[in-house]
Amino acid sequence: MNDGILSFLLDATNWQPGNNDGFVNRTIEHLGYSATALVIAFVVAFPLGLLIGHTNRGAFLAINLGNAGRALPTLGVVMLVLAIVGVGLTPVTVALVVLAIPPILTTTYAGMRAVSGATVDAARGVGMKEWQIVFQVELPNAWPIVFGGLRNAALQVVSTATLAAYVGLGGLGRYLFDGLALRDYPRVVAGAIVLAVLAVVVDLVFSLVQRLVVSPGVDGRASRGPRRGSNAPAALTASEDVPDVADDAPTPGGVGMDKAPRKSL
């Protein structure tokens, strides 16, 4: 069977951009569904998380949504949304948005709340307006946690977008469900491999963006090594470090449950 998988993966026709059922086209479809849902979820959840985090009003919403989000099976949620809204691209997108909102909202809220009260007090004390406190002080310090949520949401959406094919749309799920229906296992496994690689790559891209966005002063890069006493600018030295996935990967232990990643589908 493994030979079949390899030849399916290496078959040039499967990689032609023009081929509707090729990897390139399916990946583009897959990323299209995912990105749309992620952007919509971000536009809804991120400002709300900032607001709840800054004012601490409505915190129960953010916390409970996060907890419920973790216990609810993704597959069931998607099916229920489709049962209510109907079948098609819009319902699938709605379902993906519903999945992505809790991690973004909860971690944005949690990240904002994790910023030290003394820092926020200092910001107010030097004369920042409330919106300046949010964007110039709280958010930059909250980024490491907020990014955890964004990455988690992205992974879930990319994983779950597979279901688009289950209800007749495109995306990488086609290989899995078509293959299963046709008992063409090389096709199934090849699709699973491409999907897995896509997920890893998406996560890597997020971790690189995170490096660019997050200040070395808050993500631990600046305190690494015996830099006290040396005159090297921290930002320069820090950027020499290779990006390591592990350090930004899910760390549920140290952090509260509300910041822990969610894993399903």
Binding site: A71, L72, G191, P250
Partner: protein
């Protein structure tokens, strides 16, 4: 309401299958937790003990955690030679995910133990192995148990995915709803049972945690 009577009717007709699915679901979700808990202890110990292991093991864990579960369920047969419908694939995949998370929490937990306490134990004459089991591990338990809770809840939810490849679990209630033309009653029954199961398992772990770490309860309502 009509919906509730539909739910009742569905249960009256299908309660045997639903019950069977529930039992199978519990097995598929909790067996990996138990296996990975046992494996995570030595691995977590090694990560803390041998610094050079930290980077490769934690990187590997996070890559594994990134792989979509459906993809892993389907790719495993090609790697280990099982049949694609074998529930063993689900158990192994979920064990890998649980292990990826628990190795990290175990290492975090062990690393968080106050070194002064460890030194005090050494000074009192504990040998390393005994000290590890009676001092370090108990003090690391609150963090490890937090990881255990997350894994358990995640597993209960993830098992449902295996229904897509035809393995029995509560997830079959979702695919059944789909086959019946997005008929809501089985979907809702599946959701409710799955969430209840997750909450129940979580509560049991919390209860066990209270019993085994009584010191964390008394002073530490921070």
């Amino acid at each position: 309401m009509e919906f509730f009577s539909d739910v009742r009717t569905y249960l009256e007709i299908n309660h045997e299958t639903v019950l069977e699915s529930l039992v199978q679901h519990i097995w598929l979700a909790l067996l990996p937790v138990a296996i990975s808990f046992v494996l995570a202890l030595p691995l977590g110990w090694a990560v803390v003990r041998y610094g050079w292991l930290k980077h490769p093991i934690l990187t590997l864990s996070s890559v594994i955690y990134t792989i979509p579960s459906l993809a892993l369920f389907l790719a495993l047969p090609a790697i280990i030679g099982t049949s694609i419908l074998d529930p063993l694939n689900v158990v192994i995949a979920l064990t890998l995910y649980s292990l990826a998370l628990l190795v990290r929490t175990t290492a975090d937990g062990l690393a968080s133990v106050d070194q002064q306490v460890v030194e005090a134990a050494t000074a009192m004459g504990y040998k390393p192995a005994r000290r590890w089991f009676t001092v370090e591990l108990p003090l690391a338990l609150p963090v490890i148990m937090a990881g255990l809770r997350i894994t358990t809840v995640a597993n209960v939810s993830m098992v449902t995915v295996s229904a897509l490849i035809g393995i029995q679990s509560l997830g079959q209630l979702f695919t059944r709803g789909f086959q019946l033309g997005f008929y809501a009653p089985p979907i809702v029954i599946g959701l409710v049972l799955s969430v209840l199961l997750a909450l129940l398992a979580d509560s049991i772990i919390v209860l066990v945690q209270r019993l085994v770490t009584p010191w964390a309860r008394v002073g530490g309502a921070r």
